[in-house]
């Protein structure tokens, strides 16, 4: 035997190598198939899902389990990618990808700044500090000017992401007035103090930020043009609406307004009784979302700002505070728009109303769903809402009551598919059984380790009519 081994050692090792390679490949094949992905019926008949095709993926930064749920039957395939950007490139053009993103493009950066109104009453306070720092020219002195104003105007600042100095800065027409002079602006100038003169070195102008005013720009793009609205709150006065960016300009410190902007739709805020909550592009039209006396109003405009139609869906009061400009989600697919409205003012809300529309020359209301709640847990997030024929399909993430607080905001471990009929009656509810929960169940691992973990996320690519 030893002699045989000696004589054929290379051949034996080659054989061992081949066997190990085959085992490795078989293990790989089995591992790919070992991922769990199934649909469990919770309510209603699976037949109700016939005629619908849902595609999506369960992915992390290394791989994606792509699935297709067509007429109730699931098929999956696993794709391993070189880099995560491969996946992000793939989902870039899927319809629901942008629904959960506030500003629906990555080409511009938008922010709101505030400036003291011309009509504001102000108090000016000036202070001079000796820094105690000397240079060969003399001592550095700081002259600090603080202005307290009772009224501010909001300006919108849009920059092109590729060239941040290419800007459009415009006055929105929205302002805020207070009984007190509560809006503080600070300016610091640094001088070198000489015997008879003060030589300026630099100045910094502060206070031009509206981050705590809960007012946000929302930018959408139709064709090559950007359209902006400013979401407002009950403290906003003046008039908002829709602004079209006709041109960007290189930033110039000496100019108050930069670029070319046209206000195509003017909305009177009625002293704060009317709030603008968002703007959505649906095919080549603009949907302006307003709240008038706590009731949702959806207005349709063309890109020139011509009013086309208006809808006032019969849903309960809109209470979401829209802290980050997100008091609603809008899922857009072709000419369909589905608006998910937060009907609770809680931090973690569980009660939503859903309005499903079709946009042609006029608005057509397809579904209105009031008090959408889950039976087995709490709503965490919405992945997609779509209507196919007379069915309204809602895919949402749910977490169980009592789950670890750390995990509540990161992701919903359970995904549900809900199908409603035209009358708003729940006809089918199913739960997708996946391994995703594993990623969120490691509770006692120290945070510094845990936060580096790759975790799986769920995406819906498309929901459409199947060939059934």
């Amino acid at each position: 035997m030893a002699k045989f081994m000696k004589k054929h050692s290379a051949a034996i090792v080659l054989l061992v190598n081949i066997i190990l390679l085959v085992v490795l490949m078989l293990w790989l094949q089995n591992s790919i198939k070992a991922a769990s992905f199934a649909l469990e019926d919770l309510f209603g008949q699976r037949d109700y899902i016939n005629g619908i095709c849902i595609t999506g993926s369960l992915h992390d930064t290394g791989h994606s389990l792509e699935f297709s749920l067509e007429d109730g039957k699931i098929s999956t395939r696993t794709i391993v990618y070189d880099t995560y950007s491969d996946y992000l490139d793939q989902i870039r053009y899927y319809p629901y990808n942008w629904s959960l993103i506030d500003n629906k493009n990555t080409e511009v950066l938008a922010s709101i700044t505030d400036r003291i109104s011309d009509t504001a009453e102000t108090i000016v306070q000036k202070q001079e500090f000796n820094t105690g720092e000397f240079s060969e020219y003399g001592e550095d002195v700081i002259l600090k000017t603080t202005i307290y104003a009772d009224e501010v105007d909001y300006y919108c600042n849009i920059s092109l992401f590729d060239d941040l100095f290419k800007k459009a800065i415009f006055k929105t027409g929205i302002s805020r007035k207070s009984d007190r002079k509560e809006f503080m602006f600070e300016e610091e100038r640094v001088y070198i103090k000489k015997e008879n003169e003060m030589i300026p070195i630099y100045s910094s102008q502060g206070g031009a930020s509206a981050y705590n005013h809960k007012i946000y720009p929302k930018v959408v793009k139709i064709g090559e043009k950007y359209y902006v609205t400013i979401t407002t709150n009950e403290f906003c006065i003046g008039s908002g609406g829709i602004y079209r960016i006709d041109g960007f300009e290189h930033f110039n410190y000496e100019k108050d307004l930069v670029g070319k902007v046209t206000k195509i739709v003017d909305v009177d805020l009625k002293g704060g009784k009317l709030k603008v909550i968002g703007l959505e592009p649906v095919s080549d039209k603009l949907l302006l979302l307003l709240i008038d006396n706590n009731k949702l109003v959806v207005q349709l405009y063309d890109t020139d700002g011509n009013f086309l139609d208006e809808l006032k869906p019969d849903i309960p009061e809109v209470r979401g505070d829209g802290q980050y400009g997100n008091s609603y989600f809008c899922f857009i697919n072709g000419k369909n728009a589905h608006i998910v409205i937060n009907s609770e003012s809680k931090l973690i809300s569980d009660n939503f109303s859903i309005v499903s529309l079709s946009v042609e020359e006029k608005l057509k209301l397809n579904h209105t769903l009031i008090n959408f709640r889950t039976k087995s847990g709490r709503n965490q997030e919405f992945f997609a809402v779509e209507s196919v024929d007379d069915k309204l399909i809602i895919i949402n993430g749910v977490y169980e009551i009592g789950i670890n607080a750390d995990d509540i905001y990161s992701h919903a471990p359970e995904i549900q598919i809900n199908i409603f009929d035209k009358s708003g009656e729940l006809k089918y509810q199913g739960r997708l059984l996946t391994d995703m929960k594993d990623d969120y169940e490691i509770l006692s691992v120290p945070y510094h380790v845990k936060h580096t973990y790759t975790i799986r996320h769920f995406d819906i690519f498309n929901i459409k009519k199947s060939n059934y």
Binding site: K6, K7, H8, S9, A10, A11, V13, L14, V16, N17, L20, L21, L24, W27, L28, S31, I32, A34, A35, S36, D60, T61, G62, H63, V80, Y81, D82, T83, D435, D438, D439, E441, I442, L443, S444, V445, P446, V449, T452, Y453, T454
Partner: protein, 256 residues
């Protein structure tokens, strides 16, 4: 026909003879790697905080990857020694070079035996990783509520999610191509370097150095992001160039 068969038999004999001297130390290195990694896992498993983390983190923090690298270096060192061994003691290189066979065949036999050895080490390391995973799972099962830390399909997920494991076993086409080229390049570079040294062609070592630099860079930059077409093409060109130059050196009587 008969002549061809005789040549193949001679080559086969030569390959076995060449590989035989590698086998024992190679087996020892593989055993050391496997037992060492299992021991490291066992020792690290005593630290609950690390054990409760995911396998890829646990594996990396246990030092197994360092051991694997050391053993890989030992394997390359073994190739170098195997070549120089022909010059030591029996000075069998002179017998080899006077054999009535093409010198190219002697070169190919050496190269193939290196490939076989490297592949064996690599594949046994994969089995080792599998065993370490089984050990990790059993250690988790032994602790209170440990099972909740076990991911379904955890080893596959570790291979997909961890940069370290993707080096050991890339799962994408580009990554695999890079691995194959690295496999082809490493033994060829080692052989080329020692042949150049024997032939006093020290400038050739720059080419060897560049090839190794490219490979190490690829591994350190996470091969799948690094292994884009130009890099793969460059590696292929380097491989062909190195093998051609090695054969030329071998044929030219330029080694002594």
């Amino acid at each position: 026909m008969m002549r061809g068969w005789v040549t193949v038999r001679k080559l086969y004999y030569l390959l076995n003879e060449e590989f035989r001297q590698l086998l024992k130390p190679l087996t020892l290195i593989c055993l050391f790697n496997t037992i060492g990694q299992l021991l490291l896992i066992k020792i690290k498993a005593k630290d609950f905080e690390v054990l409760a983390s995911r396998f890829e983190y646990f594996y990396a923090s246990s030092g197994c990857m360092i051991l694997f690298t050391i053993c890989l270096l030992a394997v390359t060192g073994l190739f170098v020694t195997a070549f120089y061994k022909h010059y030591w003691g029996s000075k069998s290189i002179y017998t080899l070079l006077t054999l009535p066979a093409d010198r190219i065949k002697i070169y190919l036999v050496m190269l193939v035996s290196f490939y076989l050895g490297l592949m064996l080490f690599y594949l046994i390391n994969f089995v080792t990783v599998y065993l370490t995973y089984i050990l990790y799972v059993s250690e988790l099962k032994n602790i209170y509520m440990g099972e909740m830390y076990i991911l379904n399909n955890g080893l596959f997920l570790a291979f997909v999610r961890s940069g370290i494991f993707r080096v050991i076993f890339p799962l994408t086409f580009n990554g695999r191509l890079f691995l194959v080229l690295t496999f082809l390049l490493i033994p060829a570079v080692i052989l080329f370097s020692v042949i150049s040294e024997r032939g006093l062609r020290y400038k050739n070592l720059i080419l060897s150095g560049f090839s190794i630099f490219l490979t190490v860079l690829g591994i350190s930059q996470r091969i799948e992001t690094f292994a884009k077409t130009p890099v793969l093409a460059l590696m292929s060109v380097l491989f062909v160039l190195i093998v051609t130059m090695s054969i030329k050196l071998f044929n030219k009587n330029s080694i002594s």
